[in-house]
């Protein structure tokens, strides 16, 4: 069904620098951006063509493209992979690293990062550079800037889970997924923001404050707002990223890194990916190690991957997937590194549309894009059928019981004795536990701990936990039945609507929001299936809308192949952060990086 072939490279959206928006940025952001519209004549020379031929595993560098476009270089070029550029010496890891670091600084107001590991990244870049000079690069990830959600343990780098409880906690070990990325030479730019202990769907409920969606500042959104809105105060209307991996989604979306790790328990990777216009992959449960991921719900948690295109997600998955002796729930069978073929023929594909996902809360715009996507598959020859997942409506309440129960258990270790926050009280050990946990956890976490302990009480266990487990089985069986009936991939919305402004979002509490926002994503975690959110188009407001593909367990590769075909068809536009890019181009020059010749 899937043929091998040269990966398609996404054409660049037409960019006209002269039409750049003068908006009211915060002051530091504003400084000097007008001075750098027209840089000097071309300094970067592309070996066009050569660089474009790549294997399916490659880094599509919209980021570089944006820089290049800004510099008015080779406007006809439609793509570039950073890893090829690195291999050919067109750009060095240190340059890449410094560019990303300066973008991180410039986008600090997004609050995407909790910790920026500048020194670590620069040192790693230096080592990568040495390897490239010797011609011994470690692979596609060598010298590539990445970011990691702050609930993955990173040796020697503070890991907070955006909680007072773990503020100042520096793990002595790396999560397996982090170690695997580092072993491939990836540069760790920093730790990204999230909801406290990943409990939330907005990235608004961590102690470091909410994450702002880069699309809030995009040309696409600002233009629409100007037309539609009478609001004067633009900045107060910034949008949430979704969550809980909002920091990772924003970091990728704002070009501060090429890939980021998120975690996905009920949709925490896919939801912010959809809102931030990036690809968010939740691999099959058991395919990627959880060792070092500070757990939310062990039986549903999966490390997630956020990138700007499907190929990149596949590359990262290829590196992360496989058995980990430190995680007994990972598959035993060896996982071979894979390359994602370019699908040219979808006529043998069967796409399922779950009818239960057509809920009244679904926005008409998402609904119509969903239909459009289904029609697209159909028009290209795929079989598109309506399917039923009859237990879908029980998923949220079932999840609530299972999630809070595991949370109650997992959070028991935070007692202030060995690590993390400890209160000042020393009346008794019990009093110390109580005060430490009251001070260390926010309301959301404490609420879930209380609910979970209630469900686990001897008198309630059968009525709640055991029943929820049975319902979970029914939900998982729904998917099994659908896939057994010949469906290859399910197509659903990822979110009910596009991202909403923060002021709007906080009108509902965390629990209500999580229950609403996880509706399309969370059953997948119950069943352990792979799913990916792919940005499809911009809403009338100029904001990204993503659709979700759900695959068979451990058929992640097939899932990504379909996602890649879809990505190619829809041509989702590149985020236009002119001011950001412009500002960056000044960095680009000031730091003498523009003189680098990309041969």
């Amino acid at each position: 069904m899937v043929k091998d072939g040269c990966a398609h490279v996404k054409p660049a959206a037409a960019t006209d620098l002269s039409v750049f928006l003068l908006v009211t940025w915060s002051l530091w952001w504003q400084t000097g951006h007008e001075d750098h519209v027209g840089p000097d004549p071309p300094r970067i020379i592309f070996s066009a063509g050569k660089a474009l031929h790549r294997g399916a595993l490659g880094w599509k560098a919209e980021w570089l493209l944006s820089i290049i476009r800004l510099l008015r270089l080779s406007p006809t070029l439609d793509g570039l992979e950073v890893s090829v550029a690195l291999k050919q010496g067109q750009v060095t890891p240190t340059e890449l690293c410094q560019r990303c670091l300066s973008l991180i600084k410039k986008t600090k107001f997004l609050n995407a990062y909790i910790t920026v590991s500048e020194e670590v990244a620069l040192k790693q870049a230096e080592e990568a550079e040495k390897r490239y000079k010797k011609g011994h690069s470690l692979g596609d990830l060598d010298g590539i800037p990445i970011a990691v959600k702050d609930n993955f343990s990173t040796s020697g780098i503070e890991t907070t889970c955006a909680s007072n409880m773990l503020k100042g906690y520096v793990p002595p070990y790396n999560a397996t997924v982090v170690q695997k990325l580092l072993d491939q030479g990836a540069l760790l730019m920093g730790k990204t923001n999230l909801d406290e202990f990943a409990m939330g769907s907005g990235s608004t409920d961590g102690i470091f404050g909410p994450v702002k969606n880069p699309w809030s500042y995009s040309k696409q959104y600002r233009e629409k707002r100007k037309q539609n809105s009478h609001s004067e105060n633009e900045d107060s209307n910034w949008l949430i990223t979704g969550g809980s991996s909002g920091g990772s989604a924003a970091a990728v979306s704002a070009f501060t890194c090429f890939a980021a790790l998120g975690s996905d328990t009920g949709g925490s990777t896919r939801n912010p990916a959809a809102h931030c216009g990036v690809v968010g992959l939740k691999p099959s449960y058991g395919l990627v190690s959880r060792h070092g991921l500070i757990p939310l719900v062990n039986s549903m948690d999966v490390p997630g991957i956020l990138t700007r295109c499907v190929d990149d997600a596949a590359t990262v998955l290829g590196i992360l997937a496989g058995h980990d002796p430190k995680d007994s729930t990972t598959i035993q069978d060896p996982v071979k590194p894979f390359t994602l073929p370019s699908l040219t023929d979808v006529s043998k594909l069967c796409i399922g549309i779950p009818k239960e996902y057509l809920t009244p809360e679904l926005s008409s715009e998402v609904h119509s894009l969903w239909s459009k996507a289904a029609n697209l598959f159909e028009s290209e020859g795929a079989k598109v059928i309506e399917v039923s997942l009859p237990h879908t409506s029980y998923s949220i309440v079932c999840y609530h019981v299972l999630c809070t129960s595991e949370v109650a258990s997992n959070m028991a270790r935070f007692d202030g004795l060995e690590y993390g926050h400890r209160c000042d009280s020393s009346v008794s050990t019990e009093a110390m536990y109580a005060a430490t946990r009251r001070e260390g956890f926010n309301d959301v976490v404490r609420g879930r701990i209380l609910s979970g302990n209630f469900f686990l009480l001897k008198e309630n266990y059968e009525n709640y936990f055991v029943k929820a487990q049975k319902v979970r089985r029914l939900i998982a069986n729904d998917f099994v039945n659908v896939f057994n009936s010949g469906v290859d991939v399910l197509l659903t919305p990822t979110t009910l609507s596009e991202a909403v402004p923060y002021t709007e979002f906080i009108k509902e509490d965390n629990r209500t929001r999580s229950a609403q926002d996880d509706i399309f994503t969370q059953a997948v975690n119950m069943a352990g299936l792979p799913a990916v959110s792919v940005p499809m188009a911009l809403s009338t407001q100029g904001l990204p809308i993503g659709l979700q593909f759900i695959g068979r367990a451990f058929c992640d590769q097939q899932l990504l192949t379909v996602a890649k075909w879809f990505e190619k068809q829809v041509q989702f536009p590149v985020i236009q952060l002119q001011e950001l890019m412009d500002d960056c181009s000044s960095v680009f020059e000031n730091e003498k990086l523009a003189s680098v010749s990309l041969k």
Partner: protein
């Protein structure tokens, strides 16, 4: 101690093996609640004496005690149950703690294959049903030496269930009055041990050692008394007993205490008690936790533990990844019951002697080494090992492995005795010399101390003759018909030979000389 409080809804019998030092425990406990269980429970070693100990009063039926044991035993393994940290007895505090042992966020348990094998073998040895699928659970409670806030155990579906252990015990005054008893085993479960708390009352501090608790065996005894035919009594749990002697004393005391309490119109509280070994009594523990709800939950990070047998082994399975019960069965050593039967059969040994040989660590091996090297009769060897050798050990409170006398030395000594080179009394003397451990062989000692029997018949005849001549009144006495007079003559000759002549040989010579 940091061990969790364990409450069972009824009295019964519980045995468990826990791994100390972070390890695991297999636990055997009682089936819940049935009266028949309680009754049969009376046949355990621990409670047997107590039932008969209580004399019934007029018009009253006697009390019956029900005892269940939960035994925590450390598994002999190189690393811990769920982490790669080593297990060493008496290692410096917190020197053997992995990130998992310290419950650092994000760490996951990985099951130790060796511990599973040990649990299966224990289950087989105790005639249990081995569950082909068993599960792990989390048991929650807050305690400073339980860093995760929960303990990983096997609450719902343990690795082995429904076993039994038959054993012999002597009843009455004669050791030869042996009866066979059977104790039922409810379950064996693998369980992570908690850490160890050291309370520094002076500075009101508690220090935690996450190497995990010390000691290789820890027993909690659940005890109740009732009158046969009536419902089971309220149970108390005596926790953290670490030797068989204290276990027996604690149970003795607790049964008597409960009977006294009830007969004086008091009531028994369902409580945890500890045993004060200095005072020899049980005292209530500070029960600060009140009614605990452990909020059991499946451990999500450990998949079900699947075991196979030769019939169910998946084809092409990696032998490192599967556990084959049948192969473990082949690796089982000879079980004590079988060994005892074999000793009786092979050496014509008395059953109580076979028990005695197995009750002391290393004694059977010592016995077998001696048997292998000596020509002496097995009965002789048994007698020497159980009386002389064991007597010396007990007197000095030594283990078999600490004995100054090697099996070879004893074998050589018994050879000398066997070919009548020395007398029995000389042999005892040689053994004492050997015990002093001066590096001499039995033969050397015999030569130095001139302990060898007189082999020169002519010299013996000469000595006999002169003895007869020197004691005419004894000869007279004998001739007048006192048969015991011969013994006096034998004694006199022996004395003259400095104990080096065989009394039987002396008697023969004397009788010949007297009748001639």
């Amino acid at each position: 101690m940091a061990a969790p409080m364990l409450r069972w809804c009824c009295p019964g019998r519980r045995f468990a093996f826990a791994r100390v030092g972070c390890g695991s425990c297999h636990r055997r406990g009682p089936p819940t609640g049935s009266t028949s269980n309680g009754k049969r429970g009376q046949s355990t070693v621990a409670q047997q004496p107590h039932i008969t100990a209580q004399k019934p009063r007029k018009g009253e039926r006697e009390w019956a005690a029900v005892v269940g044991l939960e035994i925590h035993a450390q598994i002999a393994s190189n690393s811990k149950l769920f982490s790669g940290s080593q297990v060493h007895f008496a290692a410096p505090p917190n020197s053997l703690v992995s990130f998992f042992d310290a419950s650092l966020p994000g760490t996951l348990p990985v099951l130790n294959r060796r511990c599973v094998e040990a649990a299966v073998m224990t289950g087989l040895a105790l005639d249990c049903h081995i569950n082909r699928k068993s599960l792990f659970d989390r048991k929650h409670y807050f305690y400073a030496d339980l860093p995760a806030g929960y303990q990983i155990t096997q609450q719902r579906l343990p690795i082995a269930v429904n076993g039994s252990l038959a054993y012999s015990v002597s009843v009455g005054r004669k050791p030869s009055q042996m009866v066979t008893r059977t104790v039922r085993v409810k379950q064996i479960q693998l369980e992570q041990d908690s850490g160890k708390s050291l309370h520094d009352d002076l500075r009101s501090q508690t220090l935690i050692d996450l190497n995990r608790a010390e000691g290789q065996l820890r027993v909690d005894a659940n005890i109740s008394v009732h009158r046969p035919g009536e419902p089971l009594g309220v149970r108390t749990e005596v926790k953290n007993l670490n030797s068989a002697r204290f276990l027996a004393r604690a149970i003795d005391y607790e049964i008597q205490r409960q009977i006294n309490e009830l007969e004086n119109g008091g009531e028994i509280l369902n409580e945890t008690r500890s045993f004060d070994y200095k005072l020899g009594c049980t005292v209530p523990m500070r029960d600060k936790e009140g009614k605990q709800d452990y909020r059991f939950m499946p451990e999500p990070n450990l998949p079900p533990l699947l075991l196979y047998d030769s019939g169910s082994l998946p084809p092409g399975a990696d032998p490192q990844q599967v556990i084959d019960i049948d192969r473990l069965r082949e690796r089982l050593p000879e079980l004590p019951r079988v060994t005892r039967e074999r000793l009786v059969r092979q050496y014509g040994m008395l059953p109580e002697h076979s028990c005695a040989l197995l009750n002391e660590v290393g004694l059977l091996e010592f016995f077998q080494s001696v048997i292998k090297e000596t020509r002496a009769e097995p009965k002789k060897v048994t007698s020497w090992v159980l009386n002389t050798f064991l007597g010396f050990l007990k007197q000095q409170n030594l283990a078999v492995s600490e004995s100054p006398v090697t099996p070879s030395a004893l074998a050589e000594l018994l050879d000398l005795l066997d070919r009548k080179a020395i007398s029995s009394s000389a042999a005892k003397q040689v053994f004492e010399e050997l015990w002093r451990n001066e590096g001499k062989t039995p033969a050397q000692i015999v030569a130095e101390k001139k302990l060898e029997l007189l082999q020169d018949l002519e010299a013996l005849e000469q000595l006999c003759r002169s003895t007869l001549e020197a004691h005419p009144h004894v000869v007279m006495d004998l001739k007048r018909g006192n048969p015991r007079a011969i013994n006096k003559l034998i004694g006199l000759v022996r004395k003259a030979t400095l104990g080096r002549a065989d009394p039987t040989a002396i008697k023969e010579v004397l009788e010949r000389q007297l009748s001639s």
